[in-house]
Symmetry: C2
DNA sequence: GCGTGTCGGGGCGTTAGCGCACAGAAGCGC
DNA sequence: GCGCTTCTGTGCGCTAACGCCCCGACACGC
C-alpha cells in the first residue's frame, strides 16, 4: 500500500521532513479513518500505534478519580498521538480519544521506534513537537486554574477549529464538560452566552463558529500564547540544532 | 576542577549513568550553591546552564496575567533543570526558581548539548525523565482543577520533603500561594488546619513535617500517583530501548 | 404515528475560593 | 531598645462553580 506524499503532508510534522525520509516513513504507514469516540490509547497500556492525524482531531484526557477528567492536550494535523514513544517509553500516560473523526496515518509502535532510531531528522522534529506539547500543557494548567469557563470554552473551540479545518463540528455539551473538567450545566451557560452574542451557533451537538475574530476576543490570552509558543517550538524544524 | 562521583550521584539522573559517561560529564560540570529565590531561568530567555540539583530544590512556575502564577514542576535530586535542551530547544518555557537552597551541579548549555549528542545513554535517561515530567504535569493540572487547597498543600509539602531530604524547610505562606495559585489566605487556612491536626508545624516561614504518614493521608491521591508514575518512567534507566 | 434516547435549559441551595483590608507578632538592623 | 519589615491570622461580602433534579425538545427507529 502506498500513500501519496501530498496527502501525508497535510500533517505538519510529516511535512517538515525531507522528502527521502518522508517516503521511507510512509512506506510503513497505513491510512485509517478514525471514528468518533474511538479510543486510541489508554493510560497505563502499551502504545500499539502512533497516529499522524491529517484530517482528524484527538483529545488527550487525564483521568482523575472516577467521574472527573480533564483534557491535557489536543492533537490535530500539527501533531502526533504517541509522544511517549519519542521519549523511549512504551505506555501512554493518558487516554487518547477521537473527537473529530477523519483521516489519519498510523504506524505500528515498533516500526515507529525503528524509524526514529534511524532518523535524527525525525527525532529532531518530534522532540520539538514534544516541547510544544509540554509548553501547551503548562499553559493549559494555568488556564484551567485561573480562567472562567466561557473563555476556556472559546479557546477550546478555536483550537479545535484550527485542527478540524472546519467551521462546524460535532461536540455535545456533555463532551465539552468532560474535556474542560466542569459540569455540563457550566458548558450550557457559557455556550448560551456565546450564542446570544452571535459568536457561535449550536444545535444538538453541532457547533458552528460564526464569528471567529470575536470569538478570539472572547477567549483568554492562552489561545494566542499557545499559537506563539507552538510557532516558536516548530520554527526551522528541518534544521539540526547544531546548524 | 574535579567533582567526586560520589557527590554527583546524589542526583538520580547522574547516578543512572555508566561510570565512564558520568566521569566525562562531571568534567564539564561545576559545583554551585544555589541561593533561596535565585532565578535560574526565565520564560522566553535562552537557557545558559542546566542544573543537576544534588541537595537543593527548584520550582518551575508558569506566569499568567501579571499577578497570577502557578507551579508546573518541582525539581530536586531526581531531576534536572533545563529539559528544553533535551528537546532540542534553546529557551525555557517557564521560570525556574530556587525554593530549597543548597548544592547543585551545573553545566553550560552548549557543553551539555554536545554531551547529549555524544551520549545515547544520557539522552535515554533524560528522555525518560522528560516523560516523567510530562506525566506529572498532566497530573498536576488535574490536581489543581479538582482538589481542595488543603490536599494540594499536603501533596506539595510531601513532594518538597522528598526533594529537600529534610523534615523542615523554609517556605512562607505567600510563596506557597504563588506556587499553588491561590490567595495567601487560602494557604493560611489550610496550613492552620494541618497544624491543628498535628501533621505539620510552622512559624515564620519555617515548616516542619511532624507526621509524614498522616500527611500522606491528608494529601490527594496525586502524590501517590506521581511517585508511581516516576518510578515507572525511570525503571531500568541504564538500558537502551532496543535492549 | 409513537416511544426512547440524546441533547439542551433551568432552578435551588451549597461551597471553595476571591478581593480587600486590617491587626498582631516575631525577627532584624541600627 | 526602637522601628521597620516580614510573616501570620481574621473578618466580610462576593462570585464562580458545584451537586442534584427535573423538564422540554428534537431525532431516530420502528
Amino acid at each position: 500500500m502506498s500513500i501519496a506524499p501530498s496527502a501525508a503532508s497535510c500533517n505538519h510534522l510529516l511535512a517538515a521532513l525531507p522528502q527521502s525520509e518522508l517516503l521511507q516513513l510512509l512506506d510503513k504507514c497505513e491510512a485509517v479513518d478514525l471514528k468518533f469516540a474511538e479510543i486510541l490509547a489508554e493510560p497505563g497500556e502499551p502504545i500499539r500505534h502512533v497516529y499522524f492525524p491529517t484530517r482528524s482531531a484527538i483529545v488527550l484526557v487525564t483521568l482523575m478519580d472516577d467521574r472527573a477528567s480533564l483534557e491535557v492536550g489536543l492533537v490535530g494535523n500539527e501533531g502526533i498521538v504517541g509522544t511517549a514513544l519519542v521519549l523511549d517509553m512504551a505506555v501512554s500516560p493518558q487516554r487518547a480519544l477521537v473527537q473529530g473523526p477523519g483521516a489519519a496515518l498510523r504506524m505500528k509502535a515498533e516500526l515507529f521506534r525503528q524509524a526514529l532510531e534511524g532518523s535524527p531528522e525525525l527525532q529532531h522534529v518530534l522532540k520539538r513537537y514534544v516541547h510544544a506539547v509540554m509548553a501547551q500543557l503548562a499553559q493549559t494548567a494555568g488556564c484551567t486554574r485561573f480562567h472562567v469557563v466561557e473563555a476556556r470554552l472559546a479557546r477550546w473551540l478555536l483550537m479545535t477549529q484550527d485542527r478540524a479545518h472546519a467551521d462546524s463540528f460535532h461536540v455535545t455539551h456533555e463532551f465539552l464538560a468532560q474535556v474542560l473538567g466542569v459540569r455540563r450545566v457550566g458548558i450550557t451557560r457559557a455556550a448560551t452566552t456565546l450564542q446570544a452574542r452571535g459568536l457561535i451557533r449550536y444545535a444538538r451537538g453541532n457547533i458552528t463558529i460564526l464569528e471567529r475574530a470575536r470569538l478570539e476576543a472572547a477567549a483568554c490570552g492562552c489561545y494566542a500564547a499557545d499559537k506563539l509558543s507552538y510557532a516558536h517550538s516548530m520554527a526551522h524544524p528541518p534544521q539540526r540544532p547544531a546548524a
